[in-house]
């Protein structure tokens, strides 16, 4: 940490990126490279998570029949393509764990957070580049440990993604021994990785802002990541403590969560959901951030109510710490606790309604065009509304007692997470792909992908609300062992066919991604004519991001400003300047 002259520092900007496999990739500290690695990891894990969903859906529609294309899985995991009950439990557990911790977080926080935040605040890199590098390899190790659990004796963890004790606390209950330990280790490493990531994101967004980039000139995506990082850091500790205790219960035989040894299983649920509910917003807010970036660009209007959105985000974040027990209304918590948690849960919908209304108001009267990123953003917004509205039913303890642990809950949280992670994330991928790889994605394939995805998703999960309202319990291997669920088989069959269409509907995305990577139209610096700083540098940006240090002169969403020559005014263009005066 020796003192460095300013001359030396500025010459660094033209310094070439380190090259070669080891220095340029494995140990690269460039946030853009690391962001792309997070992207690859999360997309790979998404395929694994999708495969588990395929097996679950097939079993629900046609129980104990051979799943097409799965005969290669050896016994005792599967039998001639048939999913046995133990493996079904493992599949449900792994689906939740993978999709939340190893897809949603690396995709939204890891990939987009890493790639975009330094660019958006006008910095050359993250505040702690080496910590950034370490956090990726920690997550990679965690993913490997989690996937390894498929191959250890006893198989993958099978206590649900929430790992409720005592089911998770002793091998005799779930029949899984090392799979569960690996699950706990994978989670602990995953959290360590995102603690590093959260600290890095916060420090970068606060300390590395370019001159002129005041807090209220930050793009909303950065605000969302700031809030998400604070929520994560303040909520993850109790769960790590719980994970340590659960691991001790499993390995050396302490009795924190096992009633037979004097423990308290509800304690685990409190620790888990104290993290688990803020975690929902840790995932949701960055998804919202992507939508909020895209809407004004294609509506060609400033975002409606920038400050209202920021304050709502902070309010929602604060409230998210006092709603967790709504996950436990049927767990046997004190009835006197249910009422206050119902109130806070329903209260938290207020800031989200403000955000949603601000998004809709941004669209109103705009000169909206609908290329693929905008389609995904608007699709995510529309889909999320259904997830949000059904959440109000579940927030009320009285209603929740009937609906909890039914497919209503399954449909509800898929209606919140799928729009924010998948639709929102893909909106972001289509939108920032030109910045990441320097080429445009194909519009026709993108639109085909969008329409298949959004229609198929709604066909999968909309019927499940109905199934849940008719009392269909979730997490059961064969629903049709119950007489009253037999008439619901067509619903499951329909949902399963739709899910298969949803999976096949991703083929255009994969084709588009790889085709565009090599043969897409050159993007240029700013293909969407957007204002934020990531578009003020080349695509992909050079090592160190900006050839000239950017200076910020205005708010991030100055579109269609009266009197301006063009309908966008980038943040870095000085007052009175036009597009022609931009550095080029």
């Amino acid at each position: 940490m020796s003192a460095t002259g300013k001359g030396e520092a500025s010459s660094v900007r033209e310094h070439a990126a380190p090259e070669g496999f080891w220095r340029g990739c494995v140990f690269s500290v460039d946030h853009k490279t690391i962001g792309k690695q997070y992207l690859s990891l999360s997309l790979f894990m998404m395929v694994v998570g999708g495969l588990t969903a395929y097996l679950i859906r097939w079993q629900l529609a046609w129980p104990e029949t051979a799943v097409p294309g799965m005969r290669w899985v050896p016994e005792p995991t599967m039998f001639e393509g048939v999913v046995p009950p133990e493996f079904y439990n493992a599949l449900v557990t792994m689906h939740g764990t993978i999709m939340l911790f190893f897809v949603a977080m690396p995709f939204l926080l890891g990939a987009f957070g890493n790639f975009l935040i330094p660019l958006m605040v006008g910095a050359a890199d993250m505040a702690f580049p080496r910590v950034n590098r370490l956090s990726f390899w920690t997550l990679f190790t965690a993913s490997s440990l989690l996937l390894a659990s498929f191959f250890v004796p006893g198989g993958a963890p099978a206590a649900g993604w929430t790992g409720y004790a005592p089911l998770s606390a002793d091998a005799q209950y779930s029949g899984v021994d090392w799979g569960m330990n690996l699950w706990l280790l994978a989670l602990a490493l995953e959290f360590a990785s995102f603690v590093m990531g959260g600290v890095n994101i916060l420090t970068t967004a606060i300390n590395m802002r370019a001159p002129g980039m005041t807090f209220f000139r930050l793009p909303l995506l950065v605000w969302m990541h700031l809030t998400a990082a604070v929520l994560f850091l303040l909520s993850v500790g109790p769960l790590v403590a719980g994970a340590v205790m659960l691991l001790l219960d499993r390995t050396i035989g302490t009795g924190f969560f096992v009633p037979a040894r004097g423990g308290d299983p509800l304690l685990w649920q409190h620790l888990f959901w104290f993290f688990g509910h803020p975690e929902v917003y840790v995932i949701l807010l960055p998804g919202f951030g992507i939508i909020l970036e895209i809407l004004p660009v294609f509506a060609r209007k400033p975002i409606f109510g920038y400050r209202a959105i920021v304050y709502s985000t902070i309010a929602a974040g604060a409230l998210s710490f006092i709603v967790w027990a709504h996950h436990m209304f049927v767990s046997g918590i004190d009835a006197r606790l249910a009422m206050p948690f119902s109130v806070t849960t329903i209260l938290i919908s207020v800031p989200f309604v403000i955000m949603i209304l601000a998004m809709i108001a941004t669209l109103r009267g705009g000169a909206a065009s609908y290329p693929t990123p905008m389609l995904f953003a608007v699709g995510a917004l529309a889909t999320f509304i259904l997830g949000g509205v059904t959440g109000i039913f579940l927030g009320s303890a009285a209603v929740d007692i009937f609906l909890h642990d039914t497919y209503f809950v399954v449909a509800h949280f898929h209606y919140t997470l799928f729009p924010s992670v998948f639709l929102g994330g893909l909106a972001g991928l289509y939108y920032w792909f030109p910045k990441m790889f320097g080429r445009m994605m194909n519009e026709t394939l993108g639109k085909i992908h969008f329409w298949i995805t959004i229609v198929a998703f709604n066909c999968v999960f909309l019927p499940l609300f109905a199934a849940g309202m008719r009392g269909h319990m979730r997490r059961i291997y064969d629903p049709y062992q119950y007489e009253f669920l037999k008439p619901l088989q067509p619903i499951h069959a329909f949902a399963t066919v739709a899910a298969i269409v949803l999976f096949l509907g991703q083929v255009p995305l994969i084709a588009n991604f790889f085709w565009s990577l090599f043969a897409g139209r050159r993007a240029g610096e700013n293909p969407w004519r957007a204002n934020t700083l990531e578009w003020a540098t080349s695509s992909p940006p050079p090592h160190g991001n900006f050839v000239e240090a950017p200076v910020v002169h205005r708010d991030p969403y100055e579109y269609s400003v009266p009197g301006a020559v063009e309908d966008w005014l980038p943040q870095h263009v000085p007052a009175g300047g036009t597009q022609e005066t931009r550095r080029e």
Partner: protein, 200 residues
């Protein structure tokens, strides 16, 4: 200059001059997570203790209250020496920094050795981690803290190594500041744990 440092310098060049250095700000956020980690452990301790009628249980060995009190004093003393280390480099005195960092490290190791000896004695007396909530919470809470002290010894040694190589000056000592914050946290949370685990 290594590549990350080069990047960081380039980054700092663009940034507004930060009110709080990166290392210190990052450490503050990290400590926020740490506070919540211990809050989780402590709440688990309180919940489990409330479910037992007599605490400490009659058939379990007593904890060494006096020895741990002395050890608490050692740890608090190390916080004071850390403060002096920070103050020394703040006045541009690297020699003072080196001296007080070394004393802090020695005190930290002393604390760990005494803790380890107590653990061994308690295990010999029959307080097992599996013999109920009393033992389990004791070993988990003090163990989690001891691991933090151990990590602290690592951080202190790393900063001391930097100081011995002459890498800290009156202008560049963010690492000392960050290390100091961590150490104040580790030392500061111990009296709370001591009061809960040993005295209550």
């Amino acid at each position: 200059m290594s590549e990350p440092e080069r990047l960081r310098t380039a980054a700092m060049d663009t940034a507004l001059r930060p009110v709080i250095p990166n290392a210190v700000l990052g450490m503050l956020f990290f400590l926020g997570a740490e506070v919540m980690f211990f809050a989780g452990l402590i709440s688990a301790f309180l919940v489990l203790r409330a479910s037992v009628e007599t605490w400490p249980p009659v058939d379990q060995p007593r904890l060494p209250v006096v020895a741990a009190a002395v050890n608490t004093f050692v740890l608090l003393l190390s916080a004071e020496t850390m403060r002096r280390a920070r103050a020394a480099i703040g006045r541009g005195r690297p020699d003072g920094l080196r001296r007080w960092l070394a004393v802090t490290t020695v005190l930290a190791v002393t604390f760990l050795v005494v803790q380890g000896m107590q653990w061994i004695r308690l295990l010999r007396d029959g307080l097992g981690a599996t013999s109920g909530a009393y033992g389990a919470t004791f070993y988990t809470l003090t163990g989690a803290h001891a691991l933090h002290v151990l990590a602290g010894v690592g951080v202190l040694s790393a900063v001391l190594w930097q100081a011995l190589r002459g890498r800290c000056s009156g202008e560049h000592h963010a690492a000392v500041e960050a290390c100091g914050l961590y150490w104040f946290f580790v030392a500061g949370i111990w009296p709370l744990l001591y009061g809960l685990v040993y005295l209550s």
